[in-house]
Symmetry: C2
Subunit: 361 residues, 2 copies
């Protein structure tokens, strides 16, 4: 990992050197930035992920509309170089406060609000082709994991099978984690913490040799990166388990293909091999869950119609589920399975699904 740090530091230095040389040559200093707007987001059939197209914008120093952003880009880059070199980590909010000041002899602030500095960080990710975590900027933190896995993190050896009911809190930054032992046949990713606790109490992961992970809603970057690292480094299948509604299904698609707003790093956050284990609308029939469905709201239906148009939901099986949801105007939560008894999910639903390989792509 020290090698990575040195590389990142070098990339930042090269960005500075490039501009320095432009100045020496008497040119108008310029930074090239791949465009991140939706018009440049493509679903790449080959890599099965959302990626950026080839459109590039130029940010000039001598340009009334660019000058401030140019300055901001260099301020953020310089701050990140310090973080990496001093081996300190911090948050986007901290970065904003640390860089916010009034320019000498002016009333102009470097940054007035965090929504000015956040996109600059993403710009840097794209410019340098690095992850924000590699710039030592931590993301939101959410998610827990248990399983027969031993890792090393900051010099501590941590056994995920021996963390009681709490499990290991997934940090925002999992770049530096080393896997010492990974004994698992697959990774089960659960949207909701309540379902995770139920499965954990029933020792599902132990009985089924699984790694059990909850994202606690939309997956944070740390969780997505951890799923990807475990899956690719140990060749583990990933099964994602969410509510049967447009939001749950979108959570799945973000884990699998990446998200539109972070399309430039899908290759490092997405897990294209992930499969969807449930819930589906068809499950409601197959497992007789009719008593526990919920009426879908107008906004759910609207979102389902949007999903139907996304390239990555075009598979006939997904189109079928989305159509079913729109037609019947229903949805179902993971907790609906508790209607059949608290242990139904552990003893019947998941084992059946896995045995029959009854997944959606």
């Amino acid at each position: 990992m020290k090698k990575v740090k040195a590389e990142i530091s070098k990339k930042l230095e090269e960005l500075g050197l490039k501009i320095w040389k432009q100045i020496e040559r008497g040119e108008n200093p310029v930074i090239e930035i791949p465009i991140r707007s939706l018009s440049n987001v493509i679903f790449d059939e080959k890599s099965k992920s959302l990626v950026l197209g080839e459109k590039v914008a130029k940010r000039y120093f001598f340009h009334v509309a660019h000058a401030k952003k140019f300055m901001q880009t260099l301020l953020v880059a310089s701050f990140c170089k310090e973080l990496v070199d001093q081996n300190l980590h911090t948050s986007l909010r901290d970065l904003f406060y640390a860089l916010k000041r009034t320019l000498p002899n002016s009333k102009e602030n470097t940054f007035d609000e965090q929504r000015e500095s956040d996109p600059i960080v993403v710009d840097l990710e794209v410019i340098l082709n690095v992850l924000r975590e590699q710039l030592h900027l931590n993301a939101d933190v959410r998610g827990r994991v248990v399983g027969d896995v031993v890792i090393e993190d900051r010099g501590d050896t941590i056994d995920w099978s021996k963390l009681g009911s709490g499990g290991w809190a997934i940090p925002s930054n999992v770049e530096d984690i080393e896997f010492k032992k990974v004994r698992a046949k697959y990774i089960l990713v659960v949207e909701k913490n309540a379902a995770f606790e139920r499965l954990h109490e029933d020792k599902f992961w132990k009985k089924n040799k699984a790694i059990l992970l909850t994202t606690q809603g939309q997956a944070a970057r740390g969780a997505r990166r951890l799923i990807q690292r475990l899956s690719t480094e140990f060749d583990l299948p990933v099964y994602v388990f969410t509510d049967a509604d447009s939001y749950g299904w979108y959570i799945y698609s973000v884990i699998k293909y990446g998200s539109m707003s972070l399309a430039h790093i899908s290759d490092r956050l997405g897990t294209p091999s992930a499969k969807f284990i449930g819930l589906t609308i068809s499950d409601i029939d197959k497992y007789n869950l009719h008593n526990w469905t919920i009426k879908a709201k107008e906004v759910d239906i609207k979102r389902a119609k949007e999903l139907m148009r996304y390239e990555w939901f075009k598979h006939p099986k997904w189109q079928k589920e989305l159509k079913l949801m729109i037609k019947r105007k229903i949805k179902a939560e993971l907790e609906a399975l508790s209607g059949k008894g608290l242990k139904f999910v552990t003893e019947t639903y998941l084992p059946t699904k896995i045995k029959e390989q009854d997944f959606l792509p």
Copy 2:
């Protein structure tokens, strides 16, 4: 802890037996429930916490307006008895699904929505004088902790000092945790995860012999109970560290005194000895943070005025801070300290505060 389980099971059984006897005597079955509305919430000067007054309501079986709630109360009580006896835990959402059904020969559902079953659970807490966690109903989960502490949970021995950057994820239910080793001089409770990560990276807890805990916003029940257990069982001071605004200060007051909606269990969730370490509006002057304050919004000011009227914010020191905030119309976040350098919080702010015992009551 087995003893507690047996007691809870017995309390539930006694509730049933009491009603059984009323039926045998030919009486109209009735359950007595302490009233939980704000009119019956009192700030108790002696115990320094929000508690319920003495008003009690009666819920009758033969009463058009009560019959359904009476039935629901017994359904929930019976379900909880099964949970406790079978040693299963679950969530409020699961309970709702598990109990939702259509009554035979009718179109009447036991419960139509979760907002019908949730208050029944709180009723049961009040009736039996138990915690929802003791009925095996898990609450929302949020919060992380590190420190020189070893616990036992579900047969696992967990060392909070050896969990890498993630820390231990505080589960929703900490009733069954046993503390094996607790080496700490105080507990530092931090509102925000970003500040927690910063302090953790700087090994603040190690250098200062502290237990470091983040609530990640408003403290979940598991975190509040854990703070209380650690503080009372090991006689540890608790210092709470939040943003300088009405929301941060209210988070502090809930940890200390309990909340209005859960006044019936303040004695088991509150930590009256807790002290407030910062941020205050006065800190902005003392530590020269003027460059990094935020303009308070109308809603912040309104909330501050509400706090001024609460009994438990009547202390002159708090009144002074609230007045300052309202007068200057500013607030400040924990991250504002990063304006003075990323290590300012670890190396200057917190050590100074603790050395000078510069706390708010």
